[in-house]
């Protein structure tokens, strides 16, 4: 696929790392859905129940709520971001207040896949999205896969 200069303005770390655009734009799903391997709905814990959020998980913008959301899919807290055979990983980015801003899912090749808001999906390095816009990686989760 290809690189996008405008992405490197919004996420300057991309210009120093390897990445490629892997999908067209879509308003139908966001990064939190894409991390959960969904591309047909928008995940968001906004009280008022307009957007999707797993049943039983607090509707609040906290890292704990996001961890609980992915726990409903079998993910557990994990320490390392490295590729582990037999496991799939999700990285949750947080801002300086600890509020989740983004999530990425690890691919079998060790790279990560992210949906950038209503823009495109990209395949990237985890550090490529660290910066002012998404903050830093605040939590890694993993689950066993067959």
């Amino acid at each position: 696929m290809y690189r996008r200069p405008e992405f490197e303005i919004k996420w300057p770390s991309l210009s120093r790392t390897d990445y490629q655009v892997t999908s067209p734009k879509s308003q139908e799903y966001n990064c939190f859905a894409w991390a959960a391997e969904e591309d047909d709905r928008w995940w968001q814990p906004i009280p008022g129940e307009q957007f999707y959020w797993p049943d039983g998980v607090p509707q609040e913008e906290t890292i704990e709520a996001y961890i609980q959301a992915y726990q409903t899919l079998g993910y557990e807290i994990c320490l390392g971001e490295g590729l582990e055979v037999g496991y799939q990983k999700i990285a949750i980015y947080v801002d300086s207040s600890g509020i989740p801003t983004h999530a990425a899912r690890q691919l079998a090749n060790g790279k990560w896949t992210s949906k950038l808001g209503w823009l495109e999906d990209i395949e990237h390095e985890l550090d490529g999205l660290v910066g002012d816009r998404y903050g830093v990686v605040g939590q890694i989760l993993k689950r066993a896969v067959n």
Binding site: Y29, W42, G48
Partner: protein, 162 residues
């Protein structure tokens, strides 16, 4: 005799045509029947309802429309790539759009056809309503359709070709 001209969307014209066909009359005859019924029973259209529908569809002043599109453009440029609709809706331009209030609701509803995600939160904040069914949560195009249906049921005229 006098002649009046009215503007109708394609969708409404088709509905009118179908009804006229079903009743085996022309569209003009059907409209005349409607007018005669209205004049014979003006109480069937309560003044409150009629005024409410007129108010909802009052032409939005051009300066308001221009302000909306200027704010929307700033917002779209700044928040593109953000993953959280909560963050998106906290943007000052978005908050200013919300503060423009109910008279931009028809504009927001019409704009949903072009960008189904953008104005869902604003509509909820302005109207205090939530027409989204549980099974539609997060399904953006269905959510936009639910809002458009809500708007029509409330008497808003929603432009077909934004």
């Amino acid at each position: 005799m006098n002649t009046i001209a009215i503007a109708l969307s394609d969708e409404r014209l088709l509905k009118l045509q179908k009804l006229a066909n079903d009743l085996n009359v022309s569209i003009e005859e059907l409209v005349l029947i409607g007018i005669e019924n209205l004049l014979a029973q003006p109480e069937s259209l309560s003044p409150y309802t009629a005024q409410d529908i007129l108010n909802k569809n009052a032409k939005i002043p051009p300066e308001i429309v221009d302000k909306f599109y200027a704010l929307a453009s700033d917002w779209e440029k700044d928040v593109a790539g953000l993953s959280s609709t909560a963050q998106m809706s906290q943007h000052p331009a978005y908050q200013e759009i919300i503060s423009m209030g109910t008279h931009i609701v028809p504009l927001l509803l019409s704009e949903l056809k072009r960008n189904p995600l953008y104005w869902l939160s604003a509509l909820s904040a302005i109207t205090g309503e939530n027409p989204i069914k549980p099974e539609q949560r997060g399904r953006v195009k269905q959510m936009a359709s639910a809002w458009i249906d809500w708007g029509r049921n409330q008497g808003y005229a929603i432009e077909e070709n934004v």
